[in-house]
């Protein structure tokens, strides 16, 4: 290819291409994010991967329903104002898949390139840990709606811009242990099956510590640690059956949880042992008669099947079911809750009809008490940055006549009964025998 005239040197070409790349990428950026007078919210949740089906998609559906309703001004009191503070809401939807490093990068893009006014998102605890310092650094109101790790506010000690509008996972397991201790005080043995990753490890640590405090004579007879999304649990079910536990605790979620219940049920695992599923609520719709009545299930708070009766829930549940042909599960409830928290906060401190600033939003949100389909939510821990709510556990009941599952024998635990006070780590609090817990 001699015909092409040579450039002065390769040096020149290299430098030129480096400069070109820099310029092109820089210019393509400044084209986005015009200031259009709308309140722009970044919504980040799993749209692909294993967590999309049970969590991410219901949550993004709930976000769509809530934001559409708010923008049309048809939301119930006290949320009748259009959008947020009278301004229409614009959504920037992102996929949470791809790992924490990528999410840290995309969070910056969301704030600095797409210029969102607030971010609501994150189901994975690893993503929450990676985002937490960046949220504080960039100074944009960031609401974690679902992730359960108790380490978020250990990483960021004095949060200003960071909030969590849902409960952490410690609460679930303390409540599960209390429920078991109250409804089945005579059990002698417990077994565990958890997905071998952070969620499973933390869940079992919290539950086993709590149960030891409440029922000191219970012994652990088996611990099974299949890997995440294994799908086939034959060997683990055999090991559990042989150890003959009175109860089996599991933090399995989504497809894994349903697979475990189907496979274990077929092999009679639950004839003698009661399963305690801390994330079992997503299965109430699909269990049908395959899961025995009396299986203990939780919904990570007063969500989904455990949601109380109130006007907002009477709007949300039928509206969600009508639009998406499925009952809303707990991630959907938690998403609505986060959006309403943001709206309530902005409208508390900003002048009506004016774009709320970041500082106004975080000032309004800290310590806020607001209404959601799950009841009244109080931002009452970690200087008003962590939500406090009651937690419910109950037993699965299937009605063969209607073909629908539901929860019975529901017990609700006040937040002060199952949440450590500010300043103590969950493990220390549980080991010390829940000092300061106020239970009914």
């Amino acid at each position: 290819m001699k015909s092409i005239p040579h450039f002065p040197s390769q040096t020149f070409r290299l430098a030129a291409s480096a400069a070109a790349i820099t310029l092109i990428t820089g210019m393509s950026a400044s084209a986005v994010a015009a200031d259009n007078g709308k309140y722009r919210i970044g919504i980040v949740t799993f749209l692909s991967g294993a967590a999309a089906g049970p969590f991410g998609v219901p949550a993004s559906n709930a976000a769509k329903l809530t934001i559409d309703t708010l923008n049309s001004g048809k939301m119930l009191a006290p949320y009748t104002k259009i959008g947020i503070n009278g301004l229409e809401i614009e959504t920037v939807l992102l996929d949470e898949a791809g790992g924490a490093t990528k999410q840290a990068e995309e969070f910056r893009n969301l704030v600095q390139r797409q210029k969102v006014d607030a971010v609501i998102g994150y189901i994975s605890s690893g993503d929450c840990l990676a985002i937490a310092p960046a949220a504080e650094e960039l100074g944009v109101p960031t609401l974690f709606f679902d992730c359960g790790t108790s380490k978020v506010f250990e990483t960021v000690k004095n949060p200003k811009y960071l909030f969590r509008t849902g409960l952490d996972a410690v609460v679930d397991n303390v409540a599960a242990a209390r429920y078991v201790a109250e409804t089945r005080p005579n059990i002698k043995t417990v077994a565990s099956i958890q997905q071998n990753y952070a969620w499973g490890q933390d869940s079992w640590a919290d539950f086993s510590l709590s149960l030891k405090q409440l029922l000191p004579n219970v012994s652990v007879v088996s611990e099974q640690w299949p890997k995440l999304l294994q799908g086939q649990y034959g060997a683990e079910i055999s090991a559990l059956s042989v150890s003959r536990p009175d109860i089996i605790h599991s933090s399995f979620w989504g497809g894994d949880m349903e697979a475990l219940m189907l496979q274990g049920g077929a092999r009679g695992l639950f004839d003698k042992s009661v399963a305690v599923l801390t994330a079992g609520e997503t299965g109430v719709e699909t269990f049908k008669s395959n899961v025995p009545n009396g299986t203990v299930i939780g919904g990570r708070g007063p969500y989904g099947a455990f949601a109380p009766k109130n006007a907002l829930n009477d709007w949300f549940r039928p509206a969600f079911t009508a639009e998406f042909k499925a009952d809303p599960t707990y991630p959907a409830y938690k998403m609505v809750q986060a959006i309403l928290a943001l709206k309530a906060a902005a409208e508390k401190t900003a002048k009506p009809g004016v774009m709320p600033t970041s500082d106004q939003v975080v000032k309004g949100l800290a310590g806020l008490s607001f209404e959601a389909p799950s009841g009244t939510v109080k931002m009452a821990r970690t200087n008003g940055h962590q939500a406090v709510q009651d937690v419910s556990f109950g037993e699965y009941r299937f009605d063969p006549k209607t073909g629908k599952g539901s929860v019975a024998n529901v017990k609700t635990y006040a937040a002060d009964c199952v949440m450590p006070p500010d300043g103590s780590t969950p493990a220390d609090w549980i080991k010390a025998g829940f000092p300061g817990a106020k239970c009914k």
């Binding site: 290819m1 001699k2 092409i4 040579h6 040197s9 390769q10 040096t11 070409r13 290299l14 430098a15 291409s17 480096a18 400069a19 790349i21 820099t22 990428t25 820089g26 393509s28 950026a29 400044s30 986005v32 749209l47 692909s48 920037v92 939807l93 992102l94 996929d95 790992g99 924490a100 490093t101 840290a104 990068e105 995309e106 910056r108 893009n109 704030v111 600095q112 390139r113 797409q114 605890s125 690893g126 840990l129 990676a130 937490a132 310092p133 960046a134 650094e137 790790t149 380490k151 990483t155 071998n196 990753y197 952070a198 969620w199 490890q201 933390d202 640590a205 640690w225 890997k227 995440l228």
Partner: protein
């Protein structure tokens, strides 16, 4: 294949000019782009590790092993040993990667082709499995890495990110010059000879295993450096750094950029990151497909990678 001396120095000055252009960008580029480039340069270092092994005819499907080691060493040294200096942390990360490579290299350099690829993959998945099972290290959640200091200077806020960006530009440039020297040295040329005909190299009185071993160790060192830089920039590490899809991404970027020049991996990494972020922005539900189609098209039309756009009318410089 003869290699005129003046070209070696010309690549050196090209690297220097490119580095200066990018460094000047510190005050011009929007912050999100500087952050994207920081991570892309770090990734480019790992990809360079893949590329120099490709020159020897070996495809490493486990380069994430060293990427992850680099990240975790930086995280652990900063958390447990209280070291906060970025240079010390990166030196530790590189050292750890090299030590690991010295241990694994004896085994791996016995194998070629698919056997080498599968073994490298297996080693990185062993590390992944071990990290996932260790709740002390945060299991799949990983843990956060504190913001580093630079020779006693601890910048805050924007200055912190700018310093990390400049550091990544400087490290990438230094490594690019070093690896280019290595590629055109006599050892570097023997590596290509090993790919072409290993038996002949032995007849020449050289040990192909020793050559491949040193190549493997160099690749591991720069990959661990890239991992360390990623940990410092993103402020978080988790076991996903070692998972096989991460290695696959490195191999993919290597093919995308091309193996013709030390610049190619960095161009590949930048283009990949830019395409990915805009795919995610424009098509939240289909971004994987968008990314796949664009990259497939790039590879179909530029089978020798993006580098062939720049080196089109020239004979291949150091490798084909």
């Amino acid at each position: 294949m003869s290699f005129p001396k003046h070209l070696a120095s010309s690549t050196g000055s090209a690297v220097a000019i490119a580095a200066l252009v990018f460094a000047a960008g510190t005050w011009v580029l929007p912050p999100w782009l500087a952050f994207l480039l920081t991570l892309a340069f770090a990734k480019g270092l790992v990809v360079l590790g893949v590329v120099i092994q490709m020159r020897a005819g070996l495809v490493s499907f486990g380069q994430a092993l060293f990427y992850c080691i680099g990240g975790y060493i930086v995280g652990l040294a900063s958390q447990s040993l209280g070291i906060s200096d970025a240079f010390a942390l990166l030196a530790l990360a590189t050292g750890a990667g090299i030590l690991m490579a010295l241990a694994c290299g004896w085994l791996l350099t016995r194998y070629r082709e698919i056997f080498f690829a599968m073994l490298t993959l297996a080693l990185s998945m062993i590390l992944y499995g071990a990290l996932v099972k260790s709740s002390a290290l945060g299991s799949t959640d990983g843990f956060n890495v504190a913001a580093p200091s630079f020779l006693g200077w601890t910048p805050q806020g924007d200055a912190q990110k700018q310093a990390l960006y400049l550091l990544s530009v400087a490290v990438a440039a230094a490594v690019a010059i070093g690896i280019h020297r290595f590629m055109v040295s006599s050892l570097g040329r023997v590596i290509e000879a090993v790919r072409e005909n290993e038996l002949r190299v032995e007849y020449l009185g050289l040990s192909p295993r020793a050559v491949l071993f040193s190549n493997y160790v160099v690749a591991a060192g720069i990959s661990a450096l890239g991992g360390g830089l990623t940990a410092l920039a993103s402020g978080h590490i988790d076991p996903d750094m070692a998972v096989w899809t991460t290695s696959g991404e490195f191999v993919f970027i290597a093919i995308l950029g091309g193996t013709g020049h030390v610049f190619a991996p960095f161009i590949g990494a930048i283009v990949f990151s830019v395409i990915r972020t805009f795919a995610i922005q424009e098509a939240p539900h289909f971004w994987q497909m968008t990314l796949g189609v664009v990259l497939l098209a790039l590879i179909l039309f530029l089978p020798k990678g993006l580098w062939s756009l720049i080196a089109r009318d020239k004979p291949a410089e150091v490798a084909t």
